[in-house]
């Protein structure tokens, strides 16, 4: 590649300003059209959105050459990129990343039903030319993303357990990046769902809210193990859970909910989801959103990807440390003040406190096990190790699933101000505290046995 570095042109590839594409057929007859998306792939490649089999597409297949003109939305400088076609991707991280961005762009321009990504055409950039002309001086009065990343990583290093680590992550996004609305979701829920374990900036925490695989930017980021972001609001990447809950609130759906409403913004215009991966395996997603358009660009994506990577490393390290835990000991009677009836349904491992839904799935099964043991033996201190080794709980391989579920359980109990709570009792240990007497019911025990 000759001329300017592609990395310096990434602002011009955010889709803020229109781009123009020229191709020629084998006889040199030119064709020129607007193009929805020019996507930065790496320092030597870009990808263009392939949406229709049209003259542009035929020309590219014939000659494998193109020239694209992009515009920096801040300096307003134009750049011409000479391109050589390499191939088309129709699935995978690059395709999904472009598909999400295109959905946002299409929605912004009111052509959601027309724009559908058929493929990501990858081109090697042969040369970059700054088009001569006046430009606006670049304003650099903004926080340094590199410094923000460094401060965040340092704060994560100081966290002593997973609970603190997750809350610290969302707090740092607020403090260091100015991102007010964010959440951490963990993988390993039922049917591959992700569930929220920490959130910040929403009227309700939404801890325990679930996102299905492939649903919204979070579900796609987890499925593809790739960052996904959108700069404009779009129907396609909304969360069905949230919509269903609003339908339920308005009386359109009448069934008793056994799930927790997704806490996201009602009208997000920018969203980003970054996989939290250990050894190539997605264990969670870091998610952020904002009510303004185009908040998360390539630079923010890189910075937040580093944060997500560091978070994954810290989670793995804390897990190692937690495994050197000590056995539980103390037994103490719970103070009694009234009675709480806890109902457990085997069918979906859901737990209700009196008539209020609390939690389901593995977190529900854990609570039920603790409560039964507490009532049977008077124990109120437990270790994560004994839960991990309990075959009845059928925990998935990754033990952060257990830690995350305990966090989820603790937060759900706390936010419901239940007379039942879970407290930390040292590394790898926790305490069940009941401020009332407990009655346990298993309404479907007979059905399950039969």
């Amino acid at each position: 590649m000759s001329g300017l570095r592609l990395d310096g042109l990434r602002r011009a590839m955010e889709g803020v300003m229109a781009s123009v594409l020229a191709t020629c057929d084998a006889n040199g007859i030119p064709n020129v059209s607007m193009i929805s998306q020019v996507h930065y792939v790496d320092p030597e490649r870009v990808a263009l959105s392939y949406q229709f089999f049209n003259k542009t597409r035929r020309n590219v297949m014939e000659t494998r050459r193109a020239t694209v003109l992009v515009t920096d939305p801040e300096t307003l400088g134009h750049f011409r990129l000479a391109l050589a076609y390499e191939g088309t991707e129709t699935a995978g991280p690059l395709f999904e990343s472009m598909k999400a961005k295109l959905a946002g762009i299409a929605s912004h321009h009111g052509v959601e039903d027309v724009f559908r990504l058929l493929g990501s055409d990858v081109y090697r950039v042969l040369s970059v030319e700054a088009v001569p002309g006046p430009v606006v001086p670049l304003v650099t009065n903004r926080p340094s993303l590199l410094a923000a990343t460094r401060r965040t990583c340092a704060a994560l290093d100081a966290c002593a357990d997973l609970d603190e680590l997750l809350d610290c992550t969302t707090a740092c996004l607020d403090r260091d990046f100015g991102i007010g609305c964010s959440m951490v979701l963990m993988a390993g829920g039922e049917a591959g769902r992700l569930y929220a374990v920490a959130s910040r900036g929403y009227p309700v925490t939404g801890v325990g809210a679930e996102v299905a695989p492939g649903e919204g930017v979070i579900g796609v980021a987890a499925r593809e193990n790739a960052p996904i972001r959108i700069g404009h609001m779009t129907r396609e990447y909304r969360y069905g859970e949230a919509l269903s809950d609003s339908a339920r609130r308005s009386g359109l759906v009448a069934d008793a909910p056994r799930r927790i409403a997704f806490p996201g913004l009602a009208a997000p215009r920018s969203q980003i989801a970054l996989p939290i991966a250990e050894a190539g395996c997605v264990v969670g997603v870091l998610f952020a959103e904002a009510g303004e358009i185009n908040c998360f660009g390539y630079e923010e994506e890189d910075a937040l990807a580093l944060v997500a990577g560091h978070l994954a490393a810290r989670m793995a390290l804390l897990r190692q440390e937690t495994q050197e835990e000590t056995p539980a000991e103390a037994m103490s009677p719970a103070p009694a003040d009234g009675q709480l009836t806890v109902r457990y349904f085997r069918a979906d491992q859901s737990v209700f406190l009196d008539r209020d839904y609390l939690i389901k799935g593995v977190a529900g099964a854990i609570l039920w096990r603790l409560l039964r043991e507490h009532l049977a033996n008077g124990r109120n201190e437990f270790t994560t190790r004994e839960l991990r080794l309990d075959p009845a709980l059928r925990l998935p391989a990754h033990s952060e699933n257990l830690d995350a579920r305990l966090i989820l359980l603790r937060k759900r109990l706390d936010e419901r101000e239940a007379r039942l709570r879970i407290e930390k009792a040292g590394r790898g240990r926790f305490r069940l505290v009941a401020a009332c007497s407990l009655a346990l019911e298993e309404p479907d025990a007979g059905e399950a046995a039969g």
């Binding site: 007859i29 030119p30 064709n31 020129v32 607007m34």
Partner: protein
């Protein structure tokens, strides 16, 4: 600088562009111009605006400094394509010709370029550009303008969608 009227040296015109598109092209569109080099590689530039004579000659104004390769290709008799795109709804059409003539800009081009540019800027703001972005995107200097003139031989619709590329007239 003096300039010939738009159609002075043009070949015998054959107006093939429907009147609605003639009006559309002069309504403050985004104008993109392409040609090809001797090696067949595409060459791309942005235009400032367009004047269309009664005889159907398209006179497209563009910056000379920003487009040396494009002007050189056209001077060498290479083919040309020009796309006009409305900012508000992305309606678009493209004209193609085997060649274009390069002409100096004329003082009487300027008021029309000012008018079309103002419309174009308004359209950009309407779709979300900031006023600064809108001005910057289509900034031009009157002493740097040059004109190319062509008689469209083929006309295609380019509006986004599967129908893009359909030939309107030939």
């Amino acid at each position: 600088m003096t300039a010939a009227p738009p159609e002075s040296d043009a070949p015998e015109p054959r107006p093939v562009v429907p009147p609605a598109l003639v009006a559309f092209a002069q309504s403050g569109c985004g104008v993109a111009i392409a040609s090809s080099g001797a090696d067949g590689a595409p060459i791309l530039g942005l235009g400032v605006g367009c004047r269309i004579s009664a005889a159907g000659v398209f006179r497209i104004l563009l910056g000379e400094t920003a487009n040396p390769a494009l002007l050189s290709a056209l001077a060498d008799g290479r083919p040309v394509a020009v796309t006009f795109t409305a900012t508000r709804n992305h309606d678009s059409f493209q004209v193609k010709a085997a060649l274009a003539e390069i002409r100096p800009a004329s003082p009487d081009d300027l008021p029309e370029m000012d008018r079309q540019n103002a419309l174009f800027r308004d359209g950009l703001v309407e779709i979300g550009y900031s006023p600064v972005q809108a001005v910057g995107y289509c900034v031009w200097q009157s002493d740097d303008l040059v004109a190319i003139e062509l008689v469209p031989e083929r006309v295609f619709t380019q509006s986004p969608g599967p129908g893009a590329g359909t030939e309107i007239a030939r």
